[in-house]
């Protein structure tokens, strides 16, 4: 069941959805898509798009080979706060 989450993708750690793309493939809810924009490092990141579909199954977290993804429940106060900061 979908849960209100924050999905954080560390751009410094992710190796790029073009080369890797494991999160895209293993998310049962198809939450991610691949970004169009190339980063300075020449890769394209995954973007958590259908975030509301997320069930926090943690597949993306557990399978990400670069520990680049964190999925956290919005209700956890620290998480909400962090999300706040991040969008500033």
């Amino acid at each position: 069941m979908a849960k209100p989450v924050i999905i954080s993708i560390n751009e410094n750690l992710c190796k790029g959805a073009d080369g890797c793309g494991i999160c895209l493939a293993l998310c049962p809810k198809d939450v991610f898509r691949i970004a169009e924009r190339l980063t300075a490092r020449g890769i394209r990141l995954p973007v958590a798009e259908k975030i509301t579909a997320c069930t926090k199954c943690d597949n993306c977290v557990i399978y990400c080979p670069d520990m680049a993804i964190v999925v956290a429940l919005r209700e956890v106060p620290e998480v909400a706060e962090a999300a706040e900061r991040a969008t500033q």
Partner: protein, 278 residues
């Protein structure tokens, strides 16, 4: 929406100066790394309870330098032999070896079988990507018969090891196999392996999309995970299958879990006896 600020729950286990891995995109090694750290976390252990030892190769870079702990990155093939010295010196620490199939079963095969024979308390994770990743895709003792690699351009003429059978034949007291498609099972087994009083060996089939997947045509990281999923068969189910049915399948699960004298204990016995001797 995505936010960049959340700290990964296992980030505390990562050496600050080595937050990014040197792995290729989609390399399976990171999945194993995370699984190991997760198992340690779930067991309530600290990284300071461990000494990590690895050889040379991509897999050997899993703990080195990333794990924020004592790490010995040794010569090619020898991590287990180094680990034995460490374990004797620090019997109350847990020694964990993480290295590649080439490292542990090609050049390092002898140390592997002797450690298994000795049944020294040590956890060994062997990353089986079926190839030598770091040096650019040469044949490994795990590469299937007939496969084309840069050193077998007309196909591999050699039968591969069944590594788990080998280690079992050598006398290990705990032997298991999973793939990077099975991180949750891997965590469960890793916890057992870490707690085993004896030589605990876990083979992990792991995708090397760059040097194996691409060159064998099995495909990219995602396709390789898919392939692991399709090919895997649990050890319980495998028991009822014929050799022919099992031919190109990957039997996963815990294959051996027995009790036998462990080296640190027998050595302690020797010391007691020696001190008591006239």
């Amino acid at each position: 929406m995505s936010a960049a600020a959340l700290e990964h729950p296992l980030a505390k286990f990562i050496r600050p100066s080595a937050r990014t891995t040197a792995n290729c995109p989609g390399c399976g090694n990171g999945i194993l790394a995370q699984s190991i750290l997760r198992a340690i976390e779930e067991l309530g252990l600290r990284l300071d309870d461990f000494v990590f030892v690895s050889g040379i190769g991509c897999a050997a870079w899993i703990p080195s330098p990333s794990f924020y702990a004592d790490v010995l990155h040794t010569t090619h093939g020898r991590p287990i032999a180094f680990g034995i010295g460490i374990k004797v010196a620090l019997p109350h620490k847990r020694v964990m070896v993480i290295s590649g199939d080439g490292d542990l079963t090609a050049i390092g095969g002898n140390h592997l079988i002797h450690a298994a024979r000795r049944n020294i308390a040590m956890t060994v994770f062997c990353v089986n990507n079926g190839i030598y990743g770091m040096t650019g895709g040469q044949v490994a003792p795990t590469t299937p018969l007939g496969l084309t690699t840069v050193t077998t351009p007309f196909g591999n003429a050699e039968n591969p090891f069944d590594i788990c059978e080998l280690v079992k034949g050598a006398g290990a007291s705990f032997v298991a196999r999973w793939t990077t498609y099975h991180p949750r099972q891997l965590v469960r087994t890793a916890k057992k392996a870490i707690q085993k009083k004896g030589f605990a060996f876990v083979e992990v089939l792991s995708q090397c999309p760059v040097e194996f997947g691409r060159k064998t045509g099995i495909g990219n990281a995602v396709q390789m995970l898919e392939w692991y999923k399709t090919k895997s068969v649990g050890v319980a189910r495998a028991k009822d299958m014929s050799a022919a049915e099992l031919a190109d399948r990957i039997v996963v699960g815990e294959l051996v879990d027995i009790e036998k004298p462990e080296l640190m204990e027998t050595l302690e016995g020797i010391r007691r006896k020696a001190m008591a001797s006239s």
